[in-house]
Amino acid sequence: MKICVLVKEVPDAAVDKRIDPETKRLDRSGEKNLNPFDTHALEAAMQVKEGGSDVEEIVAVTMGPESAVRALHKAVALGADRSVHLSDDALAGSDVCATGYALARVLEAESPDLVLLGQQSDDGECYTIGAVVADHLKMPSLTQVIKMDVADAKLTCERQAEYGYDTVEVELPAVISVGDAINEPRYPSLKAIMGAKKKPLDTKAIGDVGIEADRVGEGGSRTAVLELKPPPEKEAGEIIEDEDTNETVEKIVAWLDERKLI
């Protein structure tokens, strides 16, 4: 079995995130880190391998600028055998549609049996790339998976949907987005960290994997950010001092009632 894990480099959670008002895109100049949700995906891949399934290799795949190499190093330190870096100026400004298309193309070139990814990224807050990629790859897909067992080319997954927990059987090859509740990611050993730079890293441009330039980047995106504005002003709240508790409770209930909260 070949497992590809899609990873992404995102601004570190502690960095004050801001949008560049000119490009209307995320200012990525601060500290960056491997998307925390992707560490769960890598851990899931390792657990499949260590659980007895015959996994030939785990490949970390990312689409991003030059600096994204660090995310790949981290992914490799966490257990991936090698990595693939899709990097091209033409990709800058790609929206969900364009990104999903590009990632699907680079994954196709790898012919994976299982694609794993974290269910969301700290910066895009999109929760959906897995489903986009799956449709392009013509593979079944599930998101928000919090439990995954492998047996005989089939996955048994659990995920929480609108009405409660669903148990779904999925045939491989498949694309699975995992939630953070699925596992506790391991820490890389010092040896693994130091050895990461030596593992094979392939860099690919869009031409290498058959990505059409007019379907990616800002020009190829199907949505456009028209404007950025501050969130609506929250009205200042009311403050009551409790003198007569019965009266206070009445006021609270009236407030709740007025807002249709009871």
């Binding site: 790339i129 449709d135 897909s141 669903d166 059987e169 508790t245 009871i262």
Partner: protein, 324 residues
């Protein structure tokens, strides 16, 4: 016929999801402004009158594919892709919820369409729809437009309100050939409730307990209040650290992030480490004996007083109001 197509999710008993109903009403309103129509799409075994009944929310037509199973996204992608292409819909709209995300995303790929998720509001601008969505942990709002059709709009949970009126919809059955991969996932059990293990992230009403509760045993006050409102109990890091409540209920910088309709903060000071986990709650009611507590700066209703006196009476009053 151009217009807006809305997916209406239902459970195994045929009850439609409240977020889907909200999306129907929203679509009807927007279609009115655009001068087009709103329609719904349902899959699975939906009875004629149930389907037609969706007309109450403002849609004129309901497309139904009985053969496609409910509950998994990809068969529905096949259905909606066909309905959208055959009828030249301009937009697909989804109410908040997991399936909406998955289906919307699949359609993005299938139809090479733009998609915006976590949408909190939709506006009409120059005869087109523009979706508003919060970004960067709700610190800014982005207005997103669509380059071409169709445009896919996926709402945030509880973003759209359902408006029930009169009206019935015309039901049209459609036949759809499912893609090969849409048949590769099989639902084994759907919608299993896991009892006491309520995920606080899904609760509509949360009662948060902080150090002001005084001691572990006083969490009972929070629990009773939560019960009276049909909500769940959450906790601050300080009390979880002290062992008063389990880690699964912790909200804040290193715990869970929640956005319920109502957050009742009991004895919580409102330090920023907690605030970032619950500041997007629709309504925040805080009870604290310290009038300088930071929580009063961002609560909608703040009560300065002794929660040990107020909460039991509040619980009684709410029970009375609901029961009586």
């Amino acid at each position: 016929m151009a217009g807006i197509l809305v997916y209406a999710l239902h459970d195994d008993e045929g009850n439609f999801n409240k977020n889907s109903l909200g999306a129907l009403s929203e679509a009807a309103k927007l279609a009115g402004e655009l001068g087009t129509e709103a329609a719904a799409v349902v899959v699975g075994d939906v009875a004629d009158d149930a389907a037609a009944g969706l007309g109450k929310y403002g849609v004129g037509k309901v497309y139904r594919c009985k053969e496609a199973p409910e509950g998994l996204a990809q068969p529905i992608v096949d259905v909606m892709a066909k309905v959208i292409s055959d009828n030249d819909f301009d937009y697909a709209l989804f109410g908040g919820g997991l399936l909406g995300f998955e289906i919307g995303a699949g359609l993005t790929a299938r139809l090479n369409a733009g998609v915006t998720m976590e949408v909190t509001q939709v506006n009409v601008q120059d005869g087109k729809l523009v979706a508003e969505r919060p970004i960067l942990q709700d610190s800014q709002i982005a207005d997103v437009g669509y380059v071409d059709k169709p445009g896919i709009i996926i709402g945030r949970l509880n973003a759209f309100d359902a408006n029930e009126g009169d009206g019935t919809a015309e039901v049209e059955d459609v036949q759809v050939e499912l893609s090969e991969w849409s048949t590769k996932a099989r639902m084994v059990t759907r919608g299993e409730q896991r009892g006491a293990d309520v995920n606080i992230e899904d609760a509509n009403v949360l009662v948060g307990g902080g150090r002001g509760l005084g001691k572990k045993e006083n969490f009972e006050l929070a629990e009773q209040l939560a019960e009276s409102m049909g909500g769940a109990v959450a906790a601050t890091r300080a009390v979880v650290d002290a062992g008063w409540y389990p880690y699964a209920a912790q909200i804040g910088q290193t715990g869970k992030t929640v956005a319920p309709n109502l957050y009742l903060a009991l004895g919580i000071s409102g330090a920023i480490q907690h605030k970032v986990g619950m500041q997007n709650s629709e309504n925040i009611l805080a009870i604290n004996k310290d009038q300088n507590a930071p929580i009063f700066e961002f609560s909608d209703l703040g009560v300065v007083g002794d929660l040990h006196k107020i909460v039991p009476k509040l619980t009684e009053a709410i029970k009375a109001k609901k029961g009586g």
